[in-house]
Symmetry: C2
Subunit: 706 residues, 2 copies
């Protein structure tokens, strides 16, 4: 199939797109036309996004049941094919109005319409970000502020637009910008401007495009408290270059990294048809939207349902510097900007190795026309070492298998910073959700010779502020069906007692079903494990409910004061695990509107507060985890990846190790580093260490001996 | 170099082995001869081990300083070349006496001698294990016990010898055995006997080789408490096969795993000379001994010292089943048996991919003669995804590098179970210590239809008991020198205050130096980070002491009751981090003698109790972590790997990202999965998602504009 036409005809029985397929360019154009016609000619419309409105679960699940029963045909009732359209309407003098409509692509009708309350601000589009630069250059305020500094000869000012964050006052739609200077003498646009931070933040009225004020930033150290510090005119003179593009780096590149190639002579083990992906008994559909980026749907193993939907829901990055206006330095990268909008176009041989399949998506221009964004998701296989091994010490026979993984990866850039997100499938029924943080840490100017309690000086004059990355993964389980019960399992010490624990060696494993929507925290001291069980399906061997499990990592939660706006607008970052009852369209842990929010509205906290039944019901599990990042000098100028993983694993879902049938074939292309003889035994037979052999100490044959 | 002659002549200036080189076969033979001569003819000697006695730190560090200063020559004072010899002396009727001697290989003199107190039991050799089988087969007690069962036709009894564990009573040197039956009808010695557990444990006097008693095991379920259960005669009739060798498996093997080859056309990036390993600015020496397996020494990056010695010190596996005699089911796999003795002989293309270098070791036969054990350690490179990346949204230029790792791996087999240990070096100055648990979980017989609170039925009639794996890694830092200070760093919330934290956004990073030897626990809620700092070396950029750090994982510690023998003999498993003052020969977290120990003697707890200064001193850091393993059905018959990692990372040790000079070259052999055109831009330049482009929104050139 070609990945440029996004209408995929893999609904075998019909020629229609699968209900989970992304909208094609053609389909988004239909939606655009309907909205333009419906709003009429006396208004101007600025489009933000047009993307698939996912079907209601009731309708989609019926369709999926038919699909998996092989009963799809043209006569069946299909979920309507819907487009969500997000746009601003400008009626003459009256300020813009943010609206959302739902358009039926087939009937070409606007089936739903909503004028969003002014209290909410929609996420910022990259087009709005773009306009920030021009506004600054036109602004007398901004020019005056910059003129207050003596910039080194040949330097130009570079501005990174940011969301305005959460303010104490009520303000209109605002955008702020972090300012830096770029050494333009080398005439290289990729010279790293972040090492020259300017202590000002221009604030723009996002709709009028006017710079309304310039916030002055402190440049002080620990001795200055909240004061501004010296804030000298030649504020960049003590700063130094922090180049990372090869042609500008002073240090030579390594010459001793020899090539390591991943070669798959027979091609990949996966099969892709449209957005349907099949690999090693796994089968799922890939979705992609402007806010969440890649999403996984209808995830099945060997025909059995495991997850209805798997997605990265939200993340927030609060900065721990108490000096105003840094209390507004808090991005919600999914709700404020959009992971899908920020997705990199991946390049062959750069972002992954081996045989790669790329997926595109359809983006929306301000006039509503579609533009294809290439390679926003990549799919590939990788080897992750040994999968399982056992050596029989009697015979010295070893059976060893490799751990092969299928990786669905996308990467987002948010001004200075990068996140690499991956869903990794393995052959033992496991899925790992991985985040990698990289890119350039956010720095502010600090006076010469000073250090700060609020961060680390990573380059002369550049203070990398302490901050946290708090992610939330949304898990919509369908473990052998849609009705599941979440059970916590804890391992607990037992008291010593002649009757029950005479030698004190025993410990108790306690199961607690979650009956009403609620939150709880990780508890490594009790080995707290979250099991998503199907109480009506028992494992034939253990007699226990089939389940998938994960151990929530006890990563540090939001450090900002509970009464701070930072904390209030990210309730999802207050606890590790949230269990809610499924509700159509409830995808966002931090609420639908995070941009300039003052508190989390309709996020997981509100969902839990509904106190609904979640026992043997359609449940959703939200896992919050994070990284408290107090920067090291080693994080400059571009930081090595910081990796976090959640492991979703079967627990009594199967009747044995699902990877037992992975052949332990010997890899034919591995070679010895030196010319010495290999002592490798034939096939996958290995010798146990000679000192370890018990020999085949004769087994005891009672029948013959007695 | 050949890996069969273990005298390595890589001490460039002389023809002598490096003080850290393992003993060669010839050297162990010298040591054997000296001991035989010294003890005389009227005694019989049974050798246990002969291996390198590592030099005193004072002597070795002087040598290393000269080595790195390039001042080695034949005139310098070298540390004596010593062999540790462990053996039993049998004087006629008098029972065996366990002795340890130190022999100077050069002077051929016994320079130290010790008769070990009877309260201690030396670790079991595989030869002692081997003798267990014969003893059982000769034993009327054992025959009678087995005759008590009706074994299915064609089954034979297989016995797994185990350490006796910690007993309440005082007993002589004992070994116990777990008994199973193997279906011999298929005439395949690799048929999995573990799925047919017999509820008896024979106990042998290890010296007299007599079976002294047969312990009867309970077969009951939760309804039976500590009682034996039905313990029926046809105890195996409800058990079923659990085969894992391909030729015996009923289910077909997967046919859709296509080859994934790691090809290194220009060879590996590492250089090996004897036991000296160099890779990507890293330089270290590989050691190997019968107890710890692979150890790393004199670990340096770019000529700067980082670690003096890195090793896996001890591990214990307590089982959580309170029914006697399972309170004695607790292995100390390093102290009781020996990771080096249990090391697998690795096979090309099975245990790792790409270009592999193997290392051998010299084992000791009971008569003291050496036997070379091949391929006990493997060395190879692997790709671990993206190392760092940044995309400039203005120019759409992306720079991305791969994360290359060097892996030092060894694998041990302990009867039913396997551990895969790896030290992974990366290009950003990091070292990851990884453990993978795999193999066959330990099962006992359970009556038909019953379930148990003490484990999970993973196969009909087979109860996999709940247990823990508790590891301890020994870190002997030398961060830019031998005198270091351990500092804990915690991130803590701040109260809201107009003066210091007006909006509640700030948080405090608190550093606490460890001044006296002590223990403490992981604290993820405060993001507790352990920094091994050099207080006399400040980072020129941040002004902070150079350091290496790790975040101790808050994995669950020993669950057995503190008053239980299980807990007493593993004090190291009571806390996550132990900071002690260096002492020559103090390598073992659980003490020197763990076999049949009743409490931990001279382990980390006693070392900490010395209350010595550890500030700006020669410190050792011990990190305990573990895995509470309540088995899943998916863990049967061989479990998928359970992975744990500790990340040792530089923190202000370097002046920038050490991987900044890793070239972001595009991998030439990666290909597209389908025939579609690649949209990959030239070189490592990539397009940012079109929807994400801010265009090169003009920078602001103040000088020209004002």
């Amino acid at each position: 199939m070609s990945s440029t036409t996004l209408i995929t005809r893999n609904d075998s029985a019909t020629s229609l797109p699968h209900p989970l397929d992304q909208l094609s360019a053609a389909e988004t154009s239909v939606a655009r036309g309907v909205i333009l016609a419906a709003r009429g000619d006396n208004v101007a419309i600025k489009f933000r996004s047009i993307f698939l409105e996912e079907p209601l679960k009731k309708e989609l699940s019926q369709f999926l049941d038919l699909e998996h029963a092989g009963q799809l045909n043209t006569n069946i009732q299909r979920p309507p094919r819907l487009a969500k359209v997000q746009y601003d309407v400008v009626h003459g003098t009256k300020g813009p109005e943010y609206m959302e409509s739902v358009v039926d692509i087939v009937t070409k009708k606007e089936v739903d319409q909503r004028v969003v309350e002014k209290v909410h601000q929609s996420g910022l589009t990259t087009h709005e970000f773009r306009e920030f630069n021009e506004a600054c250059i036109e602004s007398p305020l901004f020019k005056k502020a910059v003129a207050g500094f003596d910039l080194p000869e040949g330097f130009v000012v570079s501005i990174d637009p940011w969301p305005y964050g959460g303010d104490a006052e009520v303000v209109p739609r605002y955008t702020q910008g972090l300012c830096f200077a770029r050494d333009n003498r080398n005439q290289n646009l990729d010279s790293n401007h972040y090492s020259y931070p300017l202590p000002i933040i221009p604030v723009m009225d996002t709709y009028t495009k006017k710079i309304v004020r310039i916030d002055k930033l402190a440049t002080g150290g620990k001795e200055d408290g909240l004061a501004y510090g010296t804030h000298k005119k030649n504020v960049l003179d003590h700063c130094s270059p922090g180049e990372y593009v090869p042609e500008l780096m002073s240090q030579p590149m390594r010459t001793d990294v020899k090539p390591l190639n991943v070669v798959q002579p027979d091609g990949p083990s996966f099969k892709v048809s449209g957005h349907l992906i099949e690999w090693q008994k796994w089968r799922f559909r890939l979705g992609f939207n402007p806010r969440e980026g890649a999403t996984l749907h209808d995830v099945r193993y060997d025909g059995r349902s495991v997850f209805y939907r798997l997605s990265l829901s939200e993340m927030t990055v609060p900065y721990g510097d108490p000096r105003p206006p840094f209390h507004r330095k808090q991005a919600f990268d999914f709700g404020d900007a959009g992971a899908g909008r920020a997705a990199n176009n991946l390049a062959l041989g750069c972002d992954c190795l081996g045989v790669i399949k790329y997926f595109d998506t359809v983006a929306t221009e301000p006039d509503g026309t579609p533009s294809v964004s290439k390679n926003v998701v990549c799919l590939h296989e990788q080897d992750n070492g040994i999968g399982w091994k056992h050596t029989n010490f009697r015979t010295e026979r070893a059976v060893v298998t490799r751990l092969r993984e299928l990786v669905v990866q996308f990467i987002i850039t948010l001004a200075n910073y990068e996140y690499i997100f991956a869903y990794k499938f393995d052959q033992a029924g496991g899925i790992t959700v991985e985040t990698r943080a990289t890119g350039i840490v956010s720095v502010v100017n600090i006076d010469p010779g000073k250090t700060s309690p609020w961060g680390n000086v990573v380059s002369s004059g550049a203070l990398a502020q302490n901050h946290q990355h708090l992610f939330c993964v949304r898990i919509d389980p369908a473990v052998d069906g849609y009705n599941n019960t979440v059970v916590t399992e804890q391992s607990l010490p037992m008291s010593m007692s002649k009757e029950t624990n005479p030698y004190g060696s025993g410990y108790e494993v306690r199961q607690t079903p979650i009956k009403t929507s609620q939150y709880f925290d990780a508890s490594p001291t009790t080995n707290l494990t979250v099991k998503m069980t199907n109480p009506s399906k028992l494992n034939p061997i253990s007699g226990k409910p089939v389940s998938y499990k994960f151990i929530p990592s006890a990563s540090q939660l939001m450090l900002a004061h509970p009464d701070s706006i930072m904390a209030k607008r990210a309730q999802f970052a207050q606890h590790h695990v949230w269990v809610t009852k499924y509700k159509d369209g409830e995808y966002w842990a931090g609420g639908e509107f995070t941009n300039q929010s003052k508190k989390e509205i309709d996020g997981v906290a509100d969902a839990v507060a509904r106190k609904e039944n979640v026992e043997n019901d359609d449940v959703v599990v939200w896992n919050t985890f994070g990284l408290t990042h107090n920067p090291r000098v080693e994080d400059w100028p571009v930081m090595p990846v910081e990796i976090h993983q959640i492991h979703l694993r079967p627990a009594d879902f199967f009747t044995c190790n699902p990877a037992l049938d992975v052949p332990g074939v010997k890899n034919a292309t591995s070679v010895l580093a030196s010319e010495e003889e290999s002592c490798c035994a034939k096939g996958d037979v290995q010798q146990a260490a000679s000192s370890h052999i018990q020999g085949s100490g004769p087994d005891y044959k009672p029948k013959s001996k007695l």
